[in-house]
């Protein structure tokens, strides 16, 4: 199982790439309101990048149900394959 610190670091890189902002700093409490450009339209791009990076697939109810980065980290911690 991946360590939380490692997941956050790798996620941070993905967020920086998807939202084109190198100064981005995500925490467990980060929501879509805190990140410029994270809306329903970019969500699919973000999900696609995360799935590719960690080698697993989110389920539909997770994709539409995740409330913050914390929940995202928990799912990744459980299911990541790389």
């Amino acid at each position: 199982m991946l360590q939380e610190k490692e997941i956050i670091d790798r996620l941070n890189e993905i967020f920086a790439f998807v939202f084109d902002d190198d100064s981005i700093k995500i925490t467990r409490a980060t929501t879509s309101n805190d990140v410029d450009g994270w809306d329903s339209l970019t969500h699919v791009t973000l999900i696609g990048e995360i799935e590719e990076a960690f080698g697993f697939k989110f389920m539909m109810k997770e994709i539409v149900g995740m409330k913050n980065v914390g929940e995202m980290i928990d799912i990744i911690a459980q299911r990541a394959k790389k």
Binding site: S40, L41, V44, T45, M59, K61, V64
Partner: protein, 493 residues
Amino acid sequence: MLFSTPNFLYVFLPVLLAIYWIFYKNPGIQLIVLTVFSLYFYAFGEPVYVFLMIGLVLANYYLGKACAGDGESEQPLSKKLLLCLAVAVNLSGLVFFKYTNFICENINALTGLSLKGISLGMPIGISFFTFQSMSYVIDAYRGTVKVQKSYVKLLLYVSFFPQLIAGPIVRYQDIEEQLENRSWSINQINDGIFRFALGLAKKVLIADSCDAVVNSLGNVEEGTFLLGQWMKVIFYTLQLYFDFSGYSDMAIGLGKLFGFDFPENFNYPFASKSITEYWRRWHITLGTWFKDYLFYPVLNSTGLKKLARSLMKKKKRKLARYLPNLIALLVVWLATGIWHGASWNFVLWGIYYYLWLAADMVFLDDFRKKLPKIAESFFSHGIFIVATFFGMALFFFEDNTLSNLGSLFGAGVCGFTTTDVNAIICQNLWLLLAALVLSVPTVPKLYSMAVRECGITPAADRVIKTAVSIIFLGLATTVMVAQTYSPFLYFRF
């Protein structure tokens, strides 16, 4: 059986309510009573196809059990295949009855063959109960609902008469708990009766009157006139809204009488500022159905995610943002179009709305936000009214669509207006004004203002609503008795 007939209102409903409440201490028997009466309600109009529905629910009952997931882990291939089978079983009935002839006609036109098609009528409400069955089986697969162990409860979920024929498209999770336990209170019954009476009045007093105007405008003997054509579309738009939202009100009201809470289906769509908002307020349950079971699955499909990734790699951020969403939206709107009817003009109608939604997504929304407030309001409502008007015209002019659309711009008409057209409009000016005022939330706003300013107590509020219910039921009954058959528009879908 129609809600707006004396038979339903003064025989079927009171008898059912009496039996239902006799067994108020035994929810199990209540469910059986509701199921039997619902099947009778359907069999009254469809004595043969009622068995199709019973069989379809049986298939979903077993397939739901077989493909159910826990919602925690990814499903194995066998369950994925079972889900595909379930979706195929559900869609096969719909496709066979609704689209066989359309498919044959198109194959014939393309290949010169002469396939005959079928001469069976479409089972009433099939588009609605198929979607309800599918939502159950997909949710069971996704693990978002528990598998229903009782066949009767699943049958009641699909066949429950208030929502069986023209929606709202109730999701299994909406009434999952109420199939087990239902609350009951005088307030809930009062609300139910008020809601039903409101819906009945919308249908019988307004929608049917608008229908009469549309018909008489269509029967003007001197030919087609510009004003007449515009008025036809306007009255038809109002008819469709009051007919369909009235039906939903009646369904929701009836649900309350039996302790069920159905989802809302309309939220004053004509008060919208954009087509995107309009489709969140009109036929809401169909929109959310397509969003959850078609839009998200397509958007999150491997293909579209790969597309987004490859665009990101090429630094085409804007395309990566919009293109996958635009593709998923197109799939949804082709499906929404064809869901409404097996003909090309419904496909055209779907594409028409798709273009507006795509424009909202890509630039119109951003543009609106940049305008000063007053200009934004005028611009938004103006564009919205024009867009809806032509959308409705596409829906209304099912035959000779293009020449009829042309006539709205004066092509091929005999003139601006004539005495007959003027007479019809003058006679129905009050109806037009009343319907326009009631199609936006004027009355609820005024009433809540009155409640605040004049201090109307909850008790007084109940008395007012009861009085209004009695007046509406009385007026509607008088009209119903005098009237002949008046079907609901959404029955044909």
